[in-house]
Symmetry: C2
Subunit: 123 residues, 2 copies
DNA sequence: GACAGGTACTGTATCTGATCAACTACTGGA
DNA sequence: TCCAGTAGTTGATCAGATACAGTACCTGTC
């Protein structure tokens, strides 16, 4: 994080702010049905109106991690004459982790909201 | 992050979920007045009822970063006979960055909420 | 006085997720 | 043919968070 005082930035997304959520976001996308890698990339980019983008390399690293941990399963599509597409399917373990992660996210979100709120905690 | 399927965990805080927010949380604390390092540590720990704790080492790394970037100023307290305490004071630049970071947090929060929302886009 | 335990600060090494910067490979259009 | 877009992948690197270890001081207790 550079000092960069310059940009006005209300859309000051920082990669670190999303860090740790990527897995959950991918799992959320896969809950709605199998998707191939680039499709997930586009889905996330479009869901935020292009404001936020998770980089391809980040996502492919995520797929590896999720696959390694058994949270998703990968299989090649049968686009034999088109470009190859690797599809991902969420597993039961993946659904369980997703639910836990959403709970963790909500708890974290509330904690941060509390900590950033200017109100003095009336004791 | 291990596969650890075991713990039930509604309080499943992950360090990475807070990543990038530490600076802002510290700045938020300092907006209410000068604090010394360990005091901030306790303040954050207590503000969440002990549910969340930012590790000392993390905070001291944060102080270094904030000082380096001119967002806070450090000075030694005059506890000449007590244990030394290094106090931190938020600068104008720090206040400006804080405001921007809060905006970024809100935007990020809403993006994550959107992405994790279960609603099927009925087509 | 010795000692435990809490307060307070610091440095070093390591882990991990995110990103950069390439690269391969196919398709369709100008 | 060249280019842009789609699609997947890898290796190097960065930075924040943490583990771990250490220093130093204070208070209360035996």
């Amino acid at each position: 994080m550079q000092p960069d005082q310059s940009p006005p930035a209300e859309d000051a997304f920082s990669a670190d702010l999303l860090r740790g959520h990527t897995d959950t976001i991918v799992l959320a996308t896969l809950r709605r049905g199998d998707r191939y890698g680039f499709e997930i990339y586009k889905a996330i980019r479009d869901a935020t109106g292009g404001a936020h983008e998770i980089k391809e390399a980040t996502l492919y690293a995520t797929y590896r991690r999720l696959t390694r941990d058994g949270l998703v399963e990968a299989y090649w599509g049968d686009e034999s004459q088109g470009g190859r597409r690797k599809y991902y399917r969420i597993t039961d373990a993946g659904r369980a982790v997703f639910r836990r992660n959403v709970a963790a996210w909500r708890a974290t979100r509330d904690v941060v909201d509390t900590l950033l709120t200017d109100k003095e905690p009336r004791s």
